[in-house]
């Protein structure tokens, strides 16, 4: 899970004093809504094309709309491929090709929780909640392992853990 030699697109954001702990991508479940929209758009377009009949303009609009939904899926997939959740001993941040999109210093974090929805339990992702910093990171893969890494960073001397 842990990548001790971070990807080049992550390493550029790390200072010389920062010890890299974990880098993970978002769980692929983030692609489910755009995937449904893409498939649903193509499905609906195929289904209603005979209804459009001779109206070429209407048919074009329908297929353009379906293409837009497929393009949104492509955009989401591209974003998923280039976005990382990075944990160092100093901070937790999310970065992508566009830069650091959110960051939270660990010294502001008193505690961390992990929660999992039904789909999260089925598909293997969870949400990390940093109550004191008012930050939550959704769709984290390997949620318990990531949780334990962060917990160790926050409480290096604490022996007891509490999994919610």
């Amino acid at each position: 899970m842990s990548t001790y030699f971070p990807h080049a697109s992550v390493a550029r954001y790390l200072s010389s004093q920062e010890r890299h702990v974990v880098t993970v991508r978002m769980h692929p479940s983030v692609l489910i809504p755009p995937l449904i929209l893409g498939i649903g758009g193509v499905f609906a377009a195929i289904a209603v094309t005979p209804v459009a009949g001779d109206d070429a303009a209407l048919e074009l609009v329908i297929w353009l709309f379906a293409a837009l939904l497929v393009a949104q899926l492509g955009r989401a997939a591209l974003r998923w491929m280039t976005e990382y959740i990075v944990i160092t001993q100093l901070r937790v941040f999310r970065c992508s090709g566009a830069g650091i999109t959110s960051s939270s210093p660990l010294k502001q974090v008193d505690d961390v929780r992990v929660t999992r929805s039904v789909a999260g339990r089925l598909l293997g992702y969870g949400t990390l909640v940093f109550d004191s910093a008012h930050v939550a990171i959704d769709n984290v893969p390997y949620p318990y392992q990531v949780y334990l890494e962060i917990y160790d960073l926050i409480h290096p001397e604490a022996p007891e853990l509490s999994l919610v």
Partner: protein, 303 residues
């Protein structure tokens, strides 16, 4: 976030007094056939709020179904449902309710028919879609599920909506809507049996201030010279019935008389007795004089 703030700033500018004033001024100038004096005369009688509301009202019923679709795409589900409900009640439909139902049945037959390959592709996509949708329902927020269903529903319902509520595609429709004043058109019959079509901007016990429909001239008729007034509707304001009409009766407003063709007899409206052209103070034209060319309203004060 910054982009959102910029969008909100643009919206705030449009809705600010400056934006509203600019929109109202533009609309009044179009209605006044780009004549500033006529525009001032109209504004002195109405006001920019009336101008704006009158600009929007003709477009609301026509565009309401598409506003609903846009709101659905933007995940504004309650607002989209309200827009669709309003469309059922006010948007002019090309078919009655029973005909629309039979059209839906006919469309369903077309959608489920077709070649074996097409049906196989549809079945495979439907199975994949159902499985993913179940995962989405189990693990994602309700808003996400509704947006998914709504967006796919937009494509599925588009052919039906386009046929029920066709969008006018010709430029002439929109130029007509923009150039029509927000007041009801009236056929004004003078005591000389001359009938003119216009929009009554203001009236008191002595005078009617009328914007003529044909040449957008503001004229004043003395009340004693007006034999009758009757509402009429121009071609652009004739409306069809909505899909769910709340009022069963069909209004019987007659169509406005057509203006004479170019080269024909000039409109006699402004030459009748007791008539004065806007900007010409208190001119009474005696009966029997030859018709006078009206032209645009000249510069100057009111009556």
């Amino acid at each position: 976030m910054l982009r959102r703030i910029q969008r909100l700033s643009t919206l705030a500018l449009i809705l600010s007094p400056v934006g509203v004033l600019l929109l109202a001024a533009t609309r009044v100038l179009i209605v006044a056939d780009y004549n500033v004096t006529t525009a001032l005369a109209i504004l002195s009688s109405s006001g920019y709020i009336n101008t704006l509301v009158g600009s929007v009202i003709p477009l609301v019923p026509i565009l309401m179904p598409y506003v609903g679709l846009a709101l659905l795409y933007l995940n504004r589900v309650p607002a989209a449902l309200l827009a669709f409900a309003a469309a059922l009640l006010i948007s002019p439909a090309t078919l009655s309710g029973a005909s629309a139902l039979s059209l839906v049945k006919h469309d369903w037959g077309l959608m489920t028919g077709g070649s074996g390959l097409r049906q196989a592709v549809l079945i495979i996509l439907a199975i994949a879609l159902s499985g993913l949708l179940l995962i989405e329902i189990a693990g994602f927020q309700v808003a996400t599920v509704i947006r998914t269903i709504g967006t796919v529903g937009i494509i599925a319902s588009l052919p039906l909506i386009v046929r029920l509520y066709p969008v006018p595609v010709s430029n002439s429709f929109y130029t007509n809507v923009l150039s029509q004043p927000w007041l009801p058109a009236e056929t004004i019959t003078l005591t000389t049996h001359q009938a003119v079509t216009g929009y009554v901007l203001e009236s008191d016990q002595d005078w009617f201030e009328v914007l003529l429909a044909q040449d957008r001239t503001v004229v004043h008729y003395h009340t004693s010279d007006v034999a009758s007034r009757a509402l009429c509707q121009t071609a652009s304001t004739e409306s069809k019935r909505p899909l769910v009409p709340l009022v069963p009766a069909v209004s019987q407003i007659p169509a406005c008389p057509q203006p004479p063709s170019p080269g024909g007899a000039p409109v006699p409206a402004v030459s009748g007795p007791g008539t004065r052209i806007f900007g010409v103070p208190a001119v009474r034209i005696p009966p029997g004089l030859p018709p006078k060319e009206s032209g645009q309203a000249s510069a100057g004060g009111g009556r």
